[in-house]
């Protein structure tokens, strides 16, 4: 078997490539060039940099496997960056990693595995896959701290049949130890940050510079509608944010809603932030169909805990989700991912929070 390993230049995908080799497969390493900075060059700071590609290249060289950099700049810009900016401008809090996985890695790249002469796509994601008579099951990673199942909830049977995640069975510590034992230069490399494309300046400067329409000033109001301040653009705010509101009121205040139409940011107390449920749009399921039962748990943000919930169909790919107890900062645009224990059932995008406290 010949494996196409998506190598980011990080330790996980480095070890994934090494493990495939050890398992006796032929391995081809690729890095996706996803983003170009000013002047068309690969960025020098942040993720997806020339240095990352060089790390991946050096690891591939050390492992003795062919290595290529593939140009996915156009796909990435359309599927991830522009979508990120327009979602933000619409007052939502998108998760670009989800879109990147959905549309770039596990669609565009997966579709090319065969034409690149390979049989399976391998990534360094921390997630596990099991197969039984019912098909493929997607499970949280062995290392729960590093679990990435939240950003891979969109994978279906077809994707899982063509993909392997060899480091999902390992703790991050074990991954680093293996990399060190193999003499890979990425062994001690820090974990990459999310929002790979925005660089050191942060996503707000990124949006402000690249998408000025999302940075129009507007009012800050309280939950009664009274104007209590002003802001330099709704892109500076996310649901649940407490810092940087520029408003001095008695008690802690949080962003509880963003209304892009009137460019209004609504702030309120911690209680105002609570929601008893949410509507989920564009849901997909790993098994290809929703579960036969309604009692699940749902995770509302990356790297957070899941909470018990009940899911009810609203028709099509829309679902109503009720939490067992109110949750804070349920942000439209984030993914809501359904679990049964450690198994990912599927997920979609939070459309709106419901049953505000």
């Amino acid at each position: 078997m010949r494996a196409l390993v998506a190598m980011s230049g990080g330790v996980d995908s480095s070890v994934a490539a090494a493990l495939m080799l050890e398992a006796g497969h032929e391995v081809v390493g690729v890095t996706l060039k996803q983003w170009v900075g000013p002047g068309g060059a690969m960025p020098v700071a942040g993720c997806c940099t020339v240095a990352d590609a060089e790390d991946a290249r050096m690891v591939a060289g050390r492992l003795g496997i062919p290595y290529y950099v593939l140009d996915y700049v156009d796909e990435f810009r359309a599927a991830v960056v522009d979508a990120f900016a327009s979602e933000y401008a619409a007052g939502r809090t998108p998760n670009p990693c989800v879109e990147c996985n959905r549309r770039v890695r596990f669609r565009a790249l997966l579709a090319r595995t065969d034409e690149l002469g390979c049989d399976v796509l391998v990534t360094g994601h921390h997630v596990r896959v099991r197969r039984d008579e019912a098909g493929y099951h997607l499970l949280r990673a062995r290392d729960r701290e590093k679990d990435q199942s939240y950003v891979l909830h969109m994978l279906g049977q077809r994707e899982l049949a063509a993909t392997e995640f060899p480091v999902g069975e390992m703790t991050k510590t074990a991954v680093r130890e293996r990399a060190a034992a193999l003499g890979l230069r990425t062994a001690a490399k820090p974990d990459s940050q999310d929002l790979c494309f925005v660089g050191a300046a942060g996503y707000r400067d990124f949006l402000r510079n690249g998408y000025p329409a999302a940075a129009e000033p507007g009012p800050i109001v309280d939950t009664t509608g009274a104007v209590v301040g002003s802001h330099r653009g709704t892109i500076d705010f996310t649901i649940g944010q407490r810092r940087g509101l520029g408003v001095a009121l008695g008690g802690r205040r949080y962003v509880v809603a963003i209304r892009p139409g009137s460019r209004t940011v609504v702030i309120g107390s911690e209680d105002d932030l609570l929601a008893s449920g949410c509507e989920v749009e564009g849901a997909t399921f790993v098994a290809g169909r929703p579960p036969a039962y309604a009692k699940v748990s749902v995770q509302l943000r990356y790297r957070s805990r899941s909470v018990p919930a009940t899911m009810e169909p609203l028709g099509g790919d829309r679902w109503n989700v009720r939490f067992s107890e109110p949750q804070a900062a349920v942000a439209p645009g984030q993914a809501a991912v359904f679990y049964d224990g450690v198994e990912v059932l599927g997920g979609g995008t939070i459309g709106r929070a419901t049953g505000r406290g």
């Binding site: 690969m42 020339v50 590609a53 062919p66 290529y68 950099v69 034409e115 690149l116 002469g117």
Partner: protein, 378 residues
């Protein structure tokens, strides 16, 4: 491994390797010194300079400036002429030049030199009169490459030089002959140029050395400053072994040129004929009667060049898209863009380039392998 990327770089010629050996060993001297060890090194580079001058048809050996490669030679020619005498002279060049010329033009433009870029037709050719028409009273240098490094298209530098001279006799004409010298008769007379850039490694010499022919009387501002070597035109201790190796490769290259043209031309023609027999839709991008014999720049409609190159690599054929960024990713070529290719068309183009080690059978083998990969991709 079937290596068909000789335009990127080629195999070191044995003559070059042999010529270099003493200068990597016992003849280690720095040519700039008064003692015996230096004198031997000095003698070597001055002998090489005489040979190079003769091979390129220069009137005097001191018209040859040794540089650290073709890129540096282009930098010295373009920036050197534009900035000569502390001025801000204008640059006229073509849209298909190598980055060594285009980026240097952009650099001097940032310093205040007026820069004018002349376009090309669909097969990459210039109109010499258009080049001459772009010359203004401010123009200091006109740079037109002898042949394009990606497509192999021959540019009419001779006619452009004549047309420019007719308009402004005092303008310096530069030609980047880096890709052309191995197969084309490149001399001061044939190009009519005042400045000619060559790179050693494209001819079968070592990497990291090149030369610029500078016609007597053409003033250049140096771009590398220091100890004043090369009459102040290029400072830095000479790469003695590199210079000796380059000139040995040049000598071999000129002596072998006719055979190179017939042997490599046969390989290339057999390659294209066999390929188009299997895939009649394959398009040759350069004009059939006006391109380098060693280049085959092709468009494979409906096939991603990136995919094709990776699959060819897997089956042991090395080719290139002619343009790669720092990361190694295939990028849209400014040359194809200038020729009017859309993004999709440009992403379907692959350059196969043959070299002095190529034998005519290589063309058949290459075609067979490419057709096999295309078959698998279909």
């Amino acid at each position: 491994m079937l290596y068909l990327d000789h335009a990127a770089t080629t195999v070191l010629r044995p003559e070059a390797r042999e010529a270099m050996v003493p200068y990597l060993g016992e003849k280690y001297g720095n040519p700039s010194g008064l003692h015996e060890v230096s004198r031997r090194a000095k003698h070597a580079i001055e002998t090489a300079r005489e040979q190079a001058a003769e091979l390129i048809g220069a009137a005097r050996p001191l018209e040859i400036v040794f540089t650290g490669g073709g890129t540096e030679a282009d930098n010295l020619a373009v920036a050197g002429a534009a900035l000569a005498g502390g001025g801000r002279g204008g640059v006229v060049t073509t849209a298909v030049e190598h980055e060594a010329v285009l980026e240097t033009a952009r650099f001097v433009s940032r310093l205040g030199c007026p820069v004018s870029i002349v376009g090309v037709d669909r097969s990459g050719r210039i109109d010499p009169d258009e080049v001459a028409a772009a010359v203004s009273p401010e123009t200091a240098v006109v740079s037109v490459m002898t042949a394009n490094n990606e497509t192999g298209t021959l540019l009419d530098v001779g006619d452009a030089a004549r047309a420019v001279r007719a308009a402004r006799p005092d303008v310096a004409v530069h030609t980047d002959a880096v890709q052309a010298f191995i197969s084309e008769d490149v001399t001061v007379t044939s190009t009519g140029a005042d400045l000619i850039a060559l790179a050693s490694h494209k001819l079968g010499g070592p990497k990291g050395v090149g030369m610029l022919y500078v016609r007597s009387g053409v003033e250049l501002e140096p771009v590398v400053h220091g100890g004043g070597q090369e009459l102040g035109r290029r400072s830095g201790t000479h790469n003695v072994a590199g210079i000796v190796g380059m000139v040995a490769a040049m000598e071999r290259c000129v002596a072998d040129r006719d055979r190179f043209r017939s042997r490599i031309g046969a390989a290339r023609d057999r390659f294209e004929a066999a390929l188009r027999q299997g895939r009649p839709d394959v398009v040759v991008n350069a004009p059939p009667d006006g391109r380098l014999v060693q280049h085959s720049h092709l468009r494979f409609p409906g096939v991603s060049a990136e995919t094709l190159l990776i699959r060819l690599d897997q089956s042991g054929v090395a080719a290139s898209a002619g343009s790669a960024c720092q990361s190694g990713a295939v990028t849209t070529s400014h040359v194809l863009e200038a020729m009017g290719f859309g993004g999709t068309e440009a992403a379907e183009c692959v350059r196969f380039s043959f070299g002095w080690v190529t034998v005519p059978d290589d063309g058949d083998h290459a075609a067979k392998q490419v057709l096999a990969v295309l078959e698998e991709l279909a």
